[in-house]
């Protein structure tokens, strides 16, 4: 069934071909955070394996980012990291881990300027880096690469740096199945090599999870295939804790219709910043002002904050005033063609290839799962509750509280990536030996050895079902009834897929990959749903229709543990630290 084709070391296991690798630091995931972690760990003397289930530096969220990166570099207007910090905390509605938020804001400028020295190509104006004024910020703070090329430029720059970094081995098509743990210390991981189906054991003195978020759990998402919450599930099963899992950010004006390919569906936001853009309901009437009048949460600049705009669109659709595809119209018909071309250059041609002429007719938009505020609970060294297990980027929870400030996602990828890489190298230096034994890899190897044909369930179809139920029942607006129903549905799906992986026994086995994804996705979906069910208030991105409004009694974080194959909830006081970040870098 499996082919043994690789000239690598022999196997421990008699029944399955196996490959063994060894390194100081293992970084899982090669988006912006993982690549930065690998670069920094190597710079601090560690040997590194950077593994990704897709190609290196091509999957994940960073490469898809079209928009802006927030950092108080003060190029456009005087600024300091404390101003950025204040805006980040305000957006987080009282739940930010302030130590992590402070690190994000304080280290941001250093990373942005380092990227500049690596020739990422931040847009410039009058001889300085140009900074845009994004919603929620008190001043222009957000750098970007024209035209809508921020993510690809960041990814390309980091890939280039990696190629020149000594001591980093990059391995694509390698999907991590489980973290290896010995005596509550992370000591590597077990993986599957997708092109051959072979099991791979990776011995490592420390491990960094940089797998991004979970937005693929939702039917409408701006995610890549890799964003199934892999890292959250890996961390949970390894014994780490998750924090703030109920806070999934929906982006209100994700592209809906006509079908648009070749672009990130959240692309309309920069169009709105630069050119304005009018939201209309199915009756071609403006409706934002009605909701602004009803709610004091709008920030007065961008008319509606993300959560309120999401609410307004969904309520219009519910009232039968949606656009034909079930969203709202977004119109740029008032903008002169020369202005469109000046602001977005070649992007206008890509739109034309999709049959979209912004002068002719409006597009349709609707809320779309975009980012996850929650994630792995770490300390200021980015270490989880499991020793030598680190996390960075969107995989980390807490820094953004209940709602992320726009522009903070790439900043946190770069800043947390660098910090986690440094910490992991330090941890590896202090471990004088590899702890991993056969025992640490045995559970995951045993899982892979139980591969068998499907019991009749199509795992790809089951993923579509899970995405539908999460969108409909654990979406932007939640009720006890819907959440109860979701808990039952997820439990049923978990039971249906069982404990033995489905596999077709072919190279690049899509059934096996989908089953392994479902294993992770059901655990992560349950974590989100249980936390959302427990939080009986509305705060930031978590909106309960049966508990409207923020309740000061709920100003604490919720934690998730995995014990005895069950997901358990607990509470944690908010981590406050109104002082400078204390960790030198």
């Amino acid at each position: 069934m499996l082919r043994k084709s690789l000239p690598l070391r022999s196997s421990l296991c008699e029944t399955e071909p196996m490959i063994e690798l060894e390194t100081d630091v293992l970084v899982v995931g090669s988006g912006g955070a993982g690549m930065y972690a690998a670069i920094e760990a190597a710079k601090h003397g560690a040997s590194v394996i950077l593994a990704d289930r897709s190609l290196i530096g091509r999957g994940g969220a960073t490469v898809m980012a079209m928009m802006t990166v927030a950092a108080a570099i003060g190029a456009q207007t005087p600024d300091s990291w404390e101003n950025h910090f204040a805006d980040t905390l305000a957006a987080g509605h009282g739940l930010c881990d302030e130590s992590l938020a402070a690190i994000l804001c304080e280290d941001g400028p250093k990373r942005i300027l380092e990227m500049d020295s690596w020739k990422v190509g931040w847009a410039r104006e009058d001889g300085h880096i140009k900074q845009a004024h994004a919603p929620g910020h008190d001043r222009p703070r957000c750098v970007y690469v024209d035209f809508l090329s921020t993510g690809p430029a960041v990814s390309k720059t980091l890939r280039h740096q990696l190629q020149g970094a000594s001591g980093v081995r990059r391995v694509g098509d390698l999907m991590i199945v489980d973290i290896a743990v010995a005596d509550r210390v992370a000591c590597g991981a077990t993986a599957i090599h997708l092109p051959t189906g072979e099991a791979v054991t990776l011995k490592a003195k420390s491990v960094v999870i940089a797998t991004g978020g979970l937005t693929r759990l939702y039917r409408r998402n701006s995610a890549s295939l890799n964003m199934s919450g892999d890292g959250y599930a890996l961390a949970l099963r390894a014994g780490a804790q998750l924090i703030d899992m109920e806070f999934v950010q929906f982006f209100p004006i994700g592209h809906l219709a006509p079908r648009l390919v070749g672009m990130d569906p959240i692309m309309w936001d920069p169009f709105r910043y630069k050119l304005g853009g009018v939201l209309l309901n199915g009756e071609m009437q403006e409706f934002e002002q009605r909701y602004v009048a009803e709610d004091s949460r709008n920030d007065g600049r961008y008319v509606l904050t993300r959560d309120l705009a999401t609410y307004a669109i969904m309520k219009e659709v519910e009232a039968g005033r949606g656009s034909p595809a079930g969203g709202a119209y977004l119109s740029f018909q008032h903008v002169p063609e020369t202005e469109l071309r000046r602001a977005f250059g070649p992007v206008i041609d890509t739109l034309a290839q999709n049959g979209i002429d912004l002068k002719e007719r409006p597009v349709e938009v609707a809320p779309i799962a975009h980012y996850h505020m929650g994630g792995i609970k770490v300390d200021t060294r980015f270490e989880s509750a499991v020793l030598n297990l680190f996390a960075c980027g969107e995989a980390v929870g807490g820094a953004n509280g209940s709602n992320r400030l726009s522009g903070n996602a790439i900043t946190e990828a770069l800043v947390f990536g660098a910090r986690a890489g440094q910490s992991a190298a330090e941890a590896a230096r202090q471990s004088n030996r590899q702890r991993a034994s056969e025992k640490a890899f045995a559970p995951a190897l045993d899982l892979l050895a139980r591969r068998r044909p499907s019991n009749g369930i199509n795992p790809a179809e089951a993923i579509v079902e899970l995405q539908a139920l999460m969108m409909d029942k654990v979406g932007p607006f939640r009720t006890q009834e819907k959440l109860d129903s979701a808990i039952a549905d997820i439990a049923q799906l978990t039971h249906a897929i069982g404990n033995d992986p489905f596999a077709a026994g072919v190279p690049f086995d899509s059934e096996l990959v989908d089953w392994l994804d479902l294993r992770n996705m059901t655990q992560v979906a349950m974590s989100v749903t249980l936390a959302a069910h427990a939080r009986q208030e509305s705060r930031g991105s978590h909106q309960r229709e049966d508990f409207p409004g923020l309740d000061p009694a709920w100003e604490f974080n919720q934690m998730i543990d995995y014990r005895d194959s069950r997901i358990a909830l607990s509470r944690l006081p908010v981590q406050t630290a109104r002082r400078r970040a204390s960790v030198p870098a």
């Binding site: 060894e22 091509r58 391995v171 791979v200 295939l225 059934e511």
Partner: protein, 116 residues
């Protein structure tokens, strides 16, 4: 509307065959949308590469579409038959998947361990 995707399926050691799948679509949908439909509704074993899902950012879904090298995510479905095959000049892995990673990012090329 319906497109028929005639897909060349082959894996090392097995003879190539062409299988046809009917895919319903609305205008504007991509070949990648069609492939994902087949995986979820008809044949969960169909192997093809993609990561970013139609944003054309990851560049993984390159294949031969109607004999031209193209991205599945930016090529539109159309009525009638469309032929899909793996990239001809790359080593075949399975179905539409070929070895496209740079050589130094492949498991077969990396050293089992390093010390610094």
């Amino acid at each position: 509307m319906t497109a028929t995707l005639a897909i060349k399926r082959e894996s090392p050691g097995k003879p190539a065959k062409v299988e046809r799948f009917d895919v319903p679509f609305v205008p504007g949908q991509s070949v990648l949308d069609g492939l994902r439909y087949i995986r979820a509704h008809t044949d969960p074993t169909l192997a093809f590469r993609f990561s970013c899902i139609n944003a054309n950012a990851c560049k993984e879904c390159m294949m031969l579409i109607d004999s031209e090298v193209a991205y599945a995510c930016t090529t539109r479905l159309h009525e009638g038959e469309m032929t899909l095959a793996p990239l001809p000049k790359k080593k075949l892995v399975n179905d539409l998947v070929t070895e496209i990673a740079p050589p130094d990012e492949r498991l077969s090329n990396i050293r089992p361990s390093t010390t610094r």
